[in-house]
Every structure is written in structure tokens, then in C-alpha cells.
Symmetry: C2
Subunit: 500 residues, 2 copies
């Protein structure tokens, strides 16, 4: 459906026209969250202009802020110009990642719940232009976002100029899915009034000063969402361990029978857990308070098990989006899209007592988790919301296959090459091999559990050997380490291509 | 003043009589928080009984839970029996620390805001006996605590038997200082209704089942609090950097003119900051929302600058306590003593937007902070509340002198030997050399700031050299490391006694 009103008509421009309005030295605040609802026409047009003018000797410098990761048309296109200097707060584009790890693009890897404050307080360069995808804009400045909220509200309110990509991909009935609320700081507005994932506390639109809207571009471009993959055997094994553990916690009275709201990271393992919940007769209706909803939500809906999912983005596959559109009126009670400040807010997470399930890159024998840095130095995607949820949830579960790179990397290592979540905060570690419940365990007990329950058998003896040597040679016997060898697995991998 | 009532009379026992009632295999939940208000008569009597009966061939096994650290009469006395098997969640007794680091006592180093849930959910062994210091007990089971709240309310409510040390050290007017409130979990009770540090939301006593009170011991024993030391030049230099930074943040509009509530760790540096605030004409009335109040609060009171301090313990020196007693009625509006679940609660910390100031043991060039593990393996005291405050505060500041052990240890290292607070969470690093504001900085910028602003000149060249080599040899240039050498400073110190 095409939306139109005299205000929109008065602002209509082509992507190329908007691209010409952007400064050569510019900070962009864009919509988009892993990777739903990002602008897809203006950034490539801007990239084209940059390439043309670079040849004429002009220099460009771009600082790009988004909600989380975005698609090729934004991250990829701008990174390829060579003019991208800074990116915050999360990314997953392969070209951009390579540029970051080559040292060509600065990347600030932030807790997603911190971004609003950093922008509001001017800790980062201020935003020149917001570029945001929307389904409608009114003459009094109400912007109705598409399938993600992310940082859009803040960027729209802080930008000097606003550009909208007006999408006709989604029906107008998408209006009403969003719940835009940004807390005042320092108690001024009282507690955030969310007690349950389905509490709506804000407005379905972002209010902006309409005079700042300098251009509106009509768009029929779709998000480049990955197709949904069926979970492999490792993912299913991990999911089985997680579900068995949750049932056991309910038996022990630590989780109520009606569960607690679930938070669920992005990717195959996270999807496998939800898929298994949908199939498992012992699981009934659940609530989610999370940052990204993927196609796995449909499995829960089909099984009649999804009560409500609060999220910062609906990141569906092409087929998934079709299904969403068909049911868009009926499902308005199932999904709430919130700004990432609220989807990831420590106050709300702690109060509701979430069950947080996130993916680890590697875990050491004492339970320290690396979520971000491959071999300690290269950025994968970023910490995203994993710190927000881990630190404040009722229960945090880290999941990873025990092996990577065809067995040349063990996800369980003597000493993590980077710590994102310390042993004080992590609770449950799961691989396809098994589950280690670290709560209430002193360090040496944790090491024994992780090695015996989680490590792959092909690395278990090596880990036992490291740990036994550590106990012998370590000065402190509280958390024994053989410091000379602590990072040797990573060093070996970098030299030989294998941790073995 | 001696409190007495028929109920107390009916329960009076000697410490030795109580000691005989404790099981040989026992989990004790004790009052006490860094180190105020811990039991001082029953534990030594129990230790004496243990030593006697050990000689007769009896075996003892003790698991000791407290709020945070306690004194020699509790931690020291029980550790010296050799029967102490487990201690949570924080400690600072030198004998106990040595036993932990020799591998003889298990220690679980926990976020203080996690302890209540772990006890309530039975993740740790259940509590056989609570031993709690109080100023009064009523026949209907109202227990009025002394100078700390800590975990006492939970231990009293969960213990099978309760023993009270009824202290006559404090005037009865101490009643009314406490605000006992424990949140229900999972949103059931709504938000925690604290919007300001002076909000009182609970009761001035802990309600227990009086039939569980099996013994009351009269006590005139005083807490073994350290005398207050005047800050040295390094502490004053650190304080100066912090105050200048806070003034600058106010100028930039990031901190309101009336400030935000301050949280302040334990020790000389923390005290120096408050002392300097008291003296500095640019600082006016402040509020504190913290876990421990020390004598430095008097400096603020004398300067007319302390509006209110919310805390989990009043840990005064002998002289400080005298002064507190003299002003006990007048100061009832100045101090609120809360359970550590509330003093350290993420929901409240995030909502109010605290300025958190804590001490680091070491910091690496990318801003990862080690607060707990000396050379990666030996426990110092524990993480305490530093994780609770760091992760959820408005602003977190880590402070440390740049050198330790007469210059043989640099507090700034290439790679921390243990991470308690990751680079995502840390914001400001301060040594006597200077202050590094890491907010909004990508990793390499952080490294340059920390080396140039915070490192001691005697280590600066070595750090520059590590960093330059890292940039050359590192596979990933996002967070460059020379993994072979990353922990070499610690290894060198362990071998030669110096990082040089």
C-alpha cells in the first residue's frame, strides 16, 4: 500500500538527490537492528556519490551509528568507499568486519543499553543526519518505524536533519506494533513502568520536528535477511540440555511453573532452543523479553505457545515476513517492538528476572566467556545485548558447540583470550556435550565441571593436563593457572592452524 | 544501656553454651559487612570447642556465609580451626585469605547483589544457624540489627536456629537507622520504590519467628575496625583528578549541578576522594548510595556537605564510632542502613544513575579491570559490589596507584591476568599520574590514553613497546595483542619479583 499525504509529497526526493545533501564529513544515525528496518536506498546512492567525488579529489569521512547490525546496502556499501571511519555499536557485515580487523575502520563495541546515554551526553560526535526507514510520516512529525526500533527514536530526536525511506514493503497495519518510550535519566520519571513483557508504556510512533525532515524517498526495497536454516545435530543437542535444565529448575522451585520471560540471542543455537520448546510437550505458553525475534517465533505460534514477545526487531526471513504480513492484525497482541534502551534495560531485566540465553565464542575452564574477540584480537560482531542480559537476568545460559573449524578450535580453553562476561556473572555453560551449572561453585569445582561436561572429548585430556599442571605450578591455588601456557592454545592455533 | 525483657531473659546463654549447640557439620549465616556488626563472642567460643573436640578425634566442617568481610573473631577464629571448608561472598582476613590461596578453603566470590537469590533458591547449602549481632530483640521476633545490614535479614529468615549477640556497645537509638526491605522476585511486588537515596521503604527491624531464637548472648565486644589513616600523596593526586573530572562533566551537562548519588568503594583512595570533596569549595551538598560508609563521611558532615548516605554498613573507626554515638539522634536523617540486595540492586542503581568509584588491582591497556586476583591466581578480597555498581551506574570510575610493591608491579599491564570488569563496562581509569576517559574510544585510542595518562613513567616505555609490537604482529588489528608476551609481565614478576 502506498502512503501519501501533502507533507510527504512536499518532501519527496530521489535517493541521489538526498545523497547530494549529505555533508562530506558526516555522522549518520541510521535505523536498523540485526538487520531489520535499515535504510537501503540512500546509503548506496551516497556511496556512489562518494566514489565519483573521490575520483575528483574530494575527501569524505563518515561516522555511522545504527541500532545493531544492518545489511550490505548500508554497512557494506559505505565501508567499501573507504570513507567509513567509525562504526558503533554492533556489526556483522563481512566486508566491514574485515576492515575493522585490518585496522582501517574504528569500531566501538558497546553494551546496547549504553548507546542512548552516550549519544544524549555528547560523548560521541553529534549526529548530522538521521536516515530512517518508516511506513508512514505525518505532517506534524509522527514517524512510524518499520520492523525495528533500535536507536531510531534517539537518532531522530538528536539529528540536525532527517531523511526517511518510506517503505511500501509492509502494510500500514504495522503501525501499532511499536512502543516508543525513552526513560528520563536519574529517577526523574520514576521507575520504568514495565512489570510484564506485554506492558505498553509509550507511543506507537516517534515524534520529531517536521521541519527537520528534509527528504523522503519512496522505497520498495526489502531487508537482506538470511533464510532460516534447520538446526543441526549440535544445536539440537544443546537445546535438549537447556530444556532439561529448565524443567529441573522448575522442579526445584527456582523458576515458577509459568516460567520467566526468555531472552534469546541471534542465530542457529538460539533458534534451535525455541524450536525444541515448540515441539516439547512439557513446555507450554511462554513470554519473551528479548532484542531480536526470528522465524523460530513461528514454531512457538504454531504450537500455540507464544503468549507475547517483546523485542527491538522482527528479523524474519523472506518467507517469514510473508507470513507475518498475512497475520499482521491478528498478531498485534503477540509482538511489541521497543527501543533498545528499553528492550535491554537493566532495571526491567532485573525486575522481571529473565532467563537469558546467549552464544559464546569461547569459554575458559573457570567460566569466563568471550563473546566478541576471535583469538583475542579480531572482532566478530560485538557484545550486543549479551552483557545487558547476562549481568541482570535471573539466569544466564551461554551456549556454544564445543568445536569450531572442523575440530581445530576448542570452544573450551584454559584461559579466554578476551573476557566479556566474567566468572562472577556467568552461570550455566552448555555445549552439545553437556551442561555445567556453575552457580555456587568455587573456581576449581567450576573447572572440573566445564572440562568433564562441556569440552569435546578430543580436547578433554589436554584440558585436564593443563589444569593438573596449573594446580601444581600456580602460585595461588584459588584459581590455579600456568600463566606461561595460559594463552598457548591460541598462539598454537595462530601458528599452526590448530589448537591441537 | 542494657536492654532486657522477659523474652531476652528466657533465652540468655553464655557463648560457650551456644557453641555447644552448634552441629559439627554446620552452615552458618552471620551478620557482618566490611567488617561492621559481625558476631564476636560465639564464633571464638565455637572455635575453642572445635579445637578441644578435634583433639578427641571429632571432625568438624563449617560453611560460613556473611554479608561481606568480617573480623578476626569470626573469619580468623574459624579459619584457624582448619574446619572452615567454604566461605561466601567476600573476605579480607589475612589468615583466611592465605588458606583460600593455599587451596585449603573454598571461596565463592560473588556479586553481592546475587547472594540473596542464591540462598533463597537453595543453590548453596541451606543455613543451619544464623548468628547475628543486634541491639534489641522483642518477644514477637523483631530483631534490631547493629551497624550493618548485609545479608542478616535473609539469613535470619532462612536459618533453622537463630543465635543473637545482644550488643550494649551501641545506644538503643540505633533503632530506626535500618530500612529492611527484600524485594519479591519476578515483578511480583512491582518496582522497588526507591527514587532517591533517602527513600525509606521497609521496616527498622527484621521479623523472625521468635521460637527459632535458641540463644541470646550479651556482648560488649566492639568491631575490630581499622583506625582511619590520613591519605598519602598518591591518593590525594587521584582524588584531585576525579574531582576535576566531575566538575568538567557538570560543565558539559552530563552530570546535573546537584550531582548524582555517589557510590564509593572501601579504602584509602575512596576516603581521599570524599575528604577532598569536603575541602573543595566547588563541591556542595552530596548524596551517597553506597555499600560502606567510613569515617570520611564525617569530613563531609563537618563541611555541611552530606545530605544523606544510604549504605549497607557504618564502618567507623573507634573514634568515629564515639562521634557517631554522640550524634546518634541528630544523624538519623543522614544515614540509612539497607540490606545488600537493596544497597547494590541493579534496578535502583541504574534508575538513579550513580557515580561509582571503585579501586582496581590492575588495568590493561584496553581498559579491562582486575579487581580480585593477584597475578591471576590468588584471591585478594573479592569482587564485592564493584560489579553491581560498575555495570549499572551512570558513570564508573576505577582508581589505583600506578605502582605497587615499591615499583616492582605496574598497575597498568598489557593484558590483565583476570578480568572482573570488561572494557565494555569500564569508563574512567585514574592513577596518580592522570585520568583516562575511555568512553566513546575504540580500543587503540583507549590503549594510547591509558599508557600516556595513567601508567607510571617507569613503565611507560615498556608499555609503548608492547603496544607497538602488538600492532605489528597481531593478527587482528582491532584490539592488537602479542599473545606470546601478553602475560609475560606477570610471569616475570613471579620469577624475578619485578615486572621490570
Amino acid at each position: 500500500m502506498t502512503v501519501t499525504n501533502p507533507f510527504i509529497e512536499s518532501r519527496l526526493k530521489s535517493p541521489e538527490e538526498v545523497a547530494l545533501l549529505l555533508p562530506r564529513d558526516v555522522t549518520l544515525g541510521c535505523s536498523g537492528f540485526t538487520p531489520a528496518g535499515y535504510p537501503k536506498l540512500i546509503p548506496p546512492a551516497f556511496a556512489k556519490r562518494i566514489e565519483t567525488e573521490q575520483k575528483q579529489g574530494h575527501e569524505f569521512s563518515i561516522r555511522l551509528y545504527a541500532g545493531a547490525s544492518t545489511g550490505e546496502e548500508l554497512d557494506g556499501a559505505l565501508a567499501k568507499t573507504g570513507a567509513l571511519k567509525l562504526r558503533i555499536p554492533y556489526q556483522s557485515n563481512s566486508y566491514l568486519r574485515n576492515q575493522i580487523n585490518a585496522g582501517n575502520v574504528d569500531f566501538i563495541d558497546m553494551h546496547l543499553s549504553h548507546v542512548v546515554k552516550y549519544i544524549e551526553h555528547g560523548i560521541l560526535p553529534s549526529i548530522d543526519a538521521a536516515i530512517v526507514e518508516a511506513v508512514d510520516v505525518t505532517s506534524d512529525g509522527k514517524v512510524y518505524l518499520t520492523t525495528s526500533s533500535g536507536m531510531s527514536a534517539t537518532y531522530l530526536q538528536k539529528a540536525k536533519e532527517i531523511y526517511i525511506e518510506l517503505s511500501d514493503v509492509h502494510p500500514q497495519e504495522l503501525k501499532g506494533y511499536h512502543d516508543i518510550y525513552l526513560p528520563t535519566h536519574h529517577s526523574k520519571g520514576g521507575p520504568i513502568p514495565i512489570l510484564s513483557p506485554d506492558d505498553r508504556i509509550g507511543q506507537p510512533y516517534v515524534q520529531v520536528d517536521p521541519s527537520l525532515i528534509k527528504g523522503i524517498v519512496r522505497s520498495s526495497a526489502r531487508d537482506a535477511s538470511a533464510e532460516f536454516k534447520a538446526p543441526d545435530a549440535d544445536c539440537i543437542a544443546i537445546a535438549d540440555h537447556v530444556l532439561e535444565f529448565i524443567r529441573d529448575e522448575i522442579k526445584k522451585g527456582r523458576i515458577p511453573k509459568e516460567y520467566l520471560p526468555f531472552q534469546n540471542g541471534v542465530g542457529n543455537i538460539a533458534n534451535a532452543v525455541l524450536g525444541s520448546m515448540a515441539k516439547n510437550d512439557h513446555f507450554h505458553e511462554i513470554q519473551m523479553y528479548t532484542e531480536v525475534v526470528q522465524d523460530s517465533a513461528f514454531d512457538l505460534i504454531d504450537a500455540g505457545k507464544l503468549q507475547v514477545a517483546s523485542t527491538s526487531a522482527l528479523t524474519f526471513s523472506g518467507k517469514g515476513l510473508e507470513r507475518f504480513h498475512k497475520n499482521i492484525n491478528e498478531w498485534k497482541s503477540k509482538f511489541i517492538i521497543r527501543p533498545q534502551e528499553i528492550s535491554n534495560h537493566p532495571e526491567v531485566i532485573r525486575r522481571m528476572g529473565l532467563i537469558a540465553m546467549n552464544t559464546a565464542l569461547e569459554v575458559d575452564i573457570y567460566g569466563n566467556v568471550n563473546s566478541t574477540h576471535v583469538m583475542g584480537t579480531s572482532m566478530m560482531n560485538g557484545i550486543g545485548g549479551s552483557g545487558d542480559f547476562t549481568r541482570n537476568s535471573h539466569l544466564c545460559i551461554f551456549m556454544t558447540p564445543s568445536l569450531a573449524k572442523n575440530g581445530d578450535i576448542s570452544a573450551i580453553v584454559p584461559f579466554v583470550s578476551h573476557t566479556d562476561h566474567s566468572e562472577h556473572s556467568t552461570m550455566i555453560i552448555v555445549t552439545e556435550q553437556g551442561l555445567a551449572d556453575l552457580r555456587g561453585c568455587p573456581p576449581k569445582k567450576r573447572a572440573e565441571l566445564i572440562i568433564e561436561k562441556c569440552a569435546h572429548p578430543s580436547y578433554r585430556d589436554r584440558l585436564r593436563s593443563y589444569y593438573e599442571t596449573a594446580k601444581q605450578v600456580s602460585k595461588g591455588k584459588h584459581t590455579p593457572h600456568h600463566l606461561e601456557e595460559a594463552l598457548s592454545w591460541h598462539v598454537r592455533f595462530l601458528k599452526t592452524g590448530s589448537m591441537k
